[in-house]
């Protein structure tokens, strides 16, 4: 049974600390484009709506099924992982994720997968708003987390603000 980072976006104040700590921990620099978690931010008519998007560790991941080269697989802990060497930059994983949770960096669309920081996710530890938490993925059939995020994207009209596809290759 794998774990995933659950998102309660009603508590998200949009501070992007999760993005910064993720990229520093994995890459040694503070850079949202190298973070596995991305905070969607919609600023309309004086109000802000924020939604952190991060891999929901689906039990039957659409991204893994769509990958033509087996660059996406599961590690021993059950987390969905990514092998840069096997990636051919086709973007299929990005397109099929139901909630835009496959972030890329800007240099050649290298995918930034959430590795759950070996069980102690930095983003969760640094989230002051009780917006992120680690939960067990108990649903063996599908992808409840990602479906939930996709529903939020639809209900709150957020699709146009996905922060994952900035560069059109």
């Amino acid at each position: 049974m794998s774990q995933y980072i659950a998102v309660d976006h009603r508590n998200c104040t949009g501070c992007k600390t999760c993005e910064m700590v993720c990229s520093i921990h994995h890459w040694g620099e503070s850079n949202m484009w190298k973070s596995a978690i991305r905070v969607l931010r919609k600023e309309i008519d004086g109000l802000v709506n924020c939604l952190p998007l991060v891999c929901q560790q689906c039990t039957d991941p659409a991204c893994m099924n769509a990958c033509p080269t087996d660059a996406i697989s599961r590690n021993n802990g059950g987390a969905v992982t990514f092998s840069k060497n096997d990636c051919i930059d086709c973007g299929a994983c990005i397109d099929v994720c139901p909630a835009g949770c496959v972030p890329t960096n800007l240099e050649g669309a290298v995918v930034m997968y959430c590795d759950l920081c070996d069980g102690q996710p930095m983003c969760v530890n640094n989230c002051h708003g009780h917006c992120l938490s680690v939960k067990d993925n108990t649903d063996e059939k599908g992808a409840p987390g990602v479906r939930r995020l996709a529903d939020i994207l639809t209900q709150e009209k957020l699709w146009d603000y996905l922060p994952v596809r900035r560069v059109n290759k």
Binding site: T13, M20, G28, I44, L47, H128, P163
Partner: protein, 638 residues
């Protein structure tokens, strides 16, 4: 390696449509970053006597050294130019997300000079910097402009700051605003942008901020965030922003001022937020998140924040929270300093009360205290420079000259800038308002003498008062070596109290840290934490002392900027109406307030502490050389 930096200064000349960059290194040793570098760039880039709205004036944007990292609260953008409000140094800061994105595009500071022939905006995307036609966004407000620009440049994640119609119309109090209510409000920086035909700046960047010791840096940020979240005031500030605190404080402020208002119980920010809050939001990397995003049907949405709820309710005797909100949303959308709007309307209401003006002077609006029609109507006139609003739009000093009949005697001004009407003119605050290079500046508020002033009006006799302030005196003795500093009745130690808080404020401005996360709001971030973070970020030691030196350099260059314009000791002053605003019993008003003589005594102490000439208040070559600012001394021909 350029640790913690964007790395470059971006220079944009709108007259010649030229763009250039230079490395930041020439400035970092002495000024470290943020406002420290900003003010030196402004000093160097502005023609010595350039009028505020002439192309020779520069406007400079700076992101502090810790901005773009997860150091809690490092989010500030500093904007400086010669001000059309004070006619000397202008400064306004804002939080939000723009500053961090500026650095990831590779720029720590942006200097804009000249004037575009037609309205333009600037789009920065890493090394690509374009001056673009603003035809599509001109006349749009600050909520609409960012979204239109993002669509036009096909960049949905760009961060945008803009001016609204008020800045376009060159109302001197115009502000620079983010789409979510962050506002660089004071001293008319939006008016300076308008004078350059510069509607907005949009920025996106792909670079990271490089940190010398990333894991250690991450750990101290994490630890500090934890400490913050467990600090006593945190929960209240996070859940309610300043709203509930304000509800209590406005009662206390008016009590201290000795002014009664019967309808005060009708004003409740807490109730308003309970009824209309959509979401709590905040600035980048801030755990406090003090903005309460509210939306009122038929009126609109905006952010409830520290200012201006008191200004638009209590200070105008307005008990209608819907009118407050409508005024605030108009101010946010169109881009104006709501505090200046409140101050202007309060002044007109005072003039109306005294019979100096009538409705005939103000386009038929009867400026009676609390008249909601007058508040909304006059705000609209000021925002769009219509009718009598055009008189206010030139600035209150000029408006007073035009009205005549003694109207200038009722201005509520600090160093030429409209102050907030619930500013308590106890001695430290009068001193700071007078010597501040930009007038009323709420970031420097020593708590000790304010706490003592409260004890003074609550205790029955001298013995119980002295007992009540025993702890405050102990603290002053420990921190400043001046035991009497908190006593509101004496001028002793007041300059030292101000100097101490000015250092904290300057260090925050250099690093982009929000003052709210420091002792200012009872939160724990302090200069040693900042020095520690910089040490790990740069990979070389930064001491509290070196930060203090950089803070003093910042203050010296600010002073030099004013001095070059001919300002000296006599300009370090506040209007009499502000100074004499305490209306308690005569002996209490005398003890708590500040006479002209007392202000002059404190100014002597202040100039002495800064090493400036006491007789003239002028900065000296010796004091500049001590701070390695020989070039500034040369520029002043000292």
């Amino acid at each position: 390696m350029n640790y913690l930096r964007g790395g470059k200064i971006l220079r944009i000349d709108l007259t010649n449509q030229t763009i250039s960059t230079e490395p930041i290194e020439d400035y970092t040793d002495r000024f470290i970053g943020g406002k420290g570098i900003n003010v030196k760039l402004l000093f160097d880039a502005t023609a010595a006597k350039a009028e505020p709205l002439n192309p020779g004036n520069a406007i400079v944007f700076g992101a502090g050294t810790l901005v773009g990292t997860p150091f809690p609260g490092a989010c500030r953008l500093d904007i400086q130019a010669r001000s059309p409000v004070t006619r000397s140094l202008g400064y306004a800061g804002m939080g939000g997300y723009f500053s961090a994105r500026m650095k990831t595009a590779g720029y720590d500071n942006i200097v804009v000079t000249g004037k575009a022939e037609k309205p333009v905006y600037v789009y920065i995307n890493d090394d690509k910097v374009e001056i673009k036609n603003a035809g599509l966004v001109w006349r749009h407000d600050t909520y609409e402009t960012p979204e239109i620009i993002r669509r036009e440049v096909h960049d949905p994640t760009a961060n945008v700051i803009s001016i609204g119609p008020t800045g376009e119309k060159l109302v001197v109090y115009a502000s620079v605003v983010s789409p979510t209510g962050n506002s660089a409000s004071r001293t008319g920086m939006g008016c300076v942008m308008g004078s350059k035909n510069l509607k907005a700046i949009a920025v996106n960047g792909s670079r990271g901020i490089i940190i010398a010791c990333p894991e250690k840096f991450l750990k101290i940020c994490n630890d500090l965030r934890n400490t913050l979240c467990h600090a006593r005031p945190y929960e209240e500030l996070h859940r309610w922003g300043l709203t509930r605190n304000h509800d209590r404080e406005m009662v206390n402020y008016y009590d201290l001022l000795g002014i009664e208002w019967n309808s005060s119980r009708d004003v409740s920010e807490e109730t308003f937020v309970r009824d209309y809050r959509v979401r709590t939001v905040g600035c980048i990397t801030c755990p406090v998140a003090c903005f309460q995003g509210c939306s009122v049907p038929e009126v609109g949405a905006g952010s409830m924040k520290c200012s201006p709820p008191g200004d638009l309710t209590w200070d105008l005797r307005n008990k209608n929270m819907h009118v407050y909100w409508e005024t605030l949303v108009m101010c946010q959308r169109n881009g104006i300093d709501a505090r200046a709007v409140s101050n202007s309307i309060a002044w007109l209401m005072k003039l109306h009360e005294l019979g100096i003006i009538t409705a005939a002077d103000t386009d038929g609006l009867s400026m009676e205290w609390g008249n909601t029609e007058a508040i909304l109507g006059m705000t609209r006139k000021i925002l769009f420079r219509e009718g009598f609003g055009a008189v206010i739009g030139q600035g209150l000093t000029e408006a007073a000259r035009q009205i005549g009949r003694g109207a200038e005697n009722y201005l509520f001004m600090a160093h030429g800038s409209p102050a907030d009407m619930h500013w308590i003119p106890i001695k430290t605050r009068v001193l700071r308002s007078a010597v501040s290079p930009v007038g009323g500046d709420s970031s420097v508020q020593p708590p000790l003498d304010m706490a003592a002033a409260r004890a003074y009006i609550k205790t029955k006799d001298e013995a119980s008062f002295l007992e009540a302030i025993q702890g405050l005196k102990d603290r002053a003795e420990k921190e400043l070596g001046i035991r009497d500093a908190p006593d509101p009745r004496t001028t002793k130690g007041k300059a030292a109290l101000i100097h101490q808080k000015e250092i904290v404020s300057s260090v925050c401005n250099i690093t982009g840290e929000c003052i709210w996360l420091t002792g200012f709001m009872g939160l724990p971030v302090d200069i040693p934490d900042i020095a520690h973070a910089l040490t790990l970020g740069f990979g070389k030691e930064v001491t509290v002392d070196s930060l203090t030196q950089a803070a003093l350099r910042l203050q010296s260059v600010e002073r030099a900027f004013s001095q070059r314009l001919g300002l000296s000791r006599s300009d370090d002053t506040v209007s009499n109406r502000l100074r004499l605003h305490i209306q308690r019993k005569e002996n209490e008003a005398r003890d708590l307030g500040c006479s002209e003589t007392e202000l002059e005594t404190m100014k002597d102490d202040y100039y002495n502490l800064k090493g400036w000439d006491v007789t003239t208040g002028l900065i000296t070559r010796v004091s500049l050389e001590k701070l390695d600012l020989n070039d500034v001394a040369d520029a002043l021909a000292l």
